[in-house]
Symmetry: C2
DNA sequence: CGCACTTTGTGCATTTCTTCACAAACCCCT
DNA sequence: AGGGGTTTGTGAAGAAATGCACAAAGTGCG
């Protein structure tokens, strides 16, 4: 973590990272037509301990009912609202290699108001190609397109060496939330949110954990 | 994190998650023919603070030279060794949708001894198809193939509802390290290492951070 | 050869995160 | 209406991670 810090309201960042997991667990119960869950059931589904779930929810001022549990619908609404998922989030993907194309088509991105609305690439030979319902635009069009479509989140799926330039372009165009798949630490101005996902790093950590010397271990956000 | 715990040797898990980042930063310097770096330079490249870098390296018993810095080659070797990257890690990818195919072809996977050696899918209509240099095998072949090729790491890129079955199959076949892209908390026996990457969760966190009420914030593994 | 300068390694303080333990709150049954 | 049985919400304890400040250890110049 390099950017800025200090969530304005006092929700710990560790808690924020888990809220989406709780939301998904709730959806799971909803599809089974369960209307009430205990912290124990919900925590089991989410892969955390009940006590942590309750503490996390307490930061939202969220209220279950003692002796009963949580109303699935109500808690879903509260979490959805807390996460800001009751609006639309136009997403742009930059970098149309294997990963970028997969992300552009990934159904996980289509949930909860996230919509891929624009695709960009540097390579002239792919500009104009259709991926899903969208045409790949050139980097030169980025500023205009981002402004016109009100892109809120930029996904960087380029090689490492162009990631910083892309980030600068996105920020310059007004994007203030970036999901970065390139294996570099981006330098970003204060006020720009960034999450990085690094596949090679994940494999490296697994390799460490699986070394014969070290016994069964489970580091980090295993679940 | 739900699985087991307690890295046998006392390297904090937060440190372990950063070691691959340092290794990559070192590679960057090496390609520029730099042979010595200070903790300040290396930390800047890695996106952390110098003091944290030094503290992390101290857990390895790694030694730089006071007044000088670190020898790029030597530190690279030490980190490579500590992470267990001086051997080959055969990887299998299960689930040949968009994401699985991208992962199978992803060059980031090809670094440092990680080699995709087997591909699996449930869908009969894609079994036998070639992706890269490999044929997609059926789930029924999983146990045999994993054993024969000595697969060390299983990557799950299936929908959420089949992820647990796939995990069980992998573990049953002897795989004890899993990289999970399905949005579920896997239940795994003690001694199986697991890292989960959840794209939807990352977007949700970004949405939270970008809500108007909360000012610039940067949660979690932003870099 | 010694002194000034640089940069590491680390004990300690601080902050953040997790877990425990229990009182408060609510339902339901009689 | 009251009491037993649950399950939440939370203060306080404990653990982990981070950041500070400085001593230790090296280089190189005079």
């Amino acid at each position: 973590m390099v950017g800025t810090l200090a969530p304005r309201r006092d929700i710990p960042s560790a808690t924020v990272s888990r809220l989406p997991v709780y939301l998904r667990a709730l959806h799971e119960f909803a599809t089974r037509d369960v209307t009430r869950v205990s912290s124990e059931e919900l925590a089991a589904q989410a892969g955390v301990r009940p006590t942590q779930l309750r503490k996390d929810l307490s930061h939202l001022g969220s209220h279950g009912v003692r002796g009963v549990g949580y109303d699935v619908g109500r808690l879903t609404a509260e979490l959805t609202n807390a996460l800001g998922l009751n609006r639309s989030w136009p997403v742009a993907v930059v970098g149309m290699g294997n990963l970028g194309r997969a992300l552009a088509a990934y159904s996980g991105f289509a949930t909860e108001g996230f919509h891929v609305e624009a695709l960009f690439d540097h390579d002239p030979s792919v500009i104009g190609d259709l991926v899903g319902r969208h045409r790949i635009a050139s980097m030169g069009e980025l500023t205009d397109v981002v402004a016109r479509l009100g892109i809120a989140i930029g996904v960087i799926a380029t090689p490492a060496n162009s990631a910083q330039d892309v980030a600068d372009a996105l920020v310059g165009a007004g994007v203030r939330a970036i999901l970065n798949f390139a294996p570099v630490a981006l330098a970003l101005p204060e006020g720009v949110a960034c999450r990085s996902v690094d596949l090679a790093t994940e494999l490296h950590v697994l390799a460490f954990l699986r070394q014969p010397e070290r016994v069964g271990a489970d580091v980090g956000r295993g679940q």
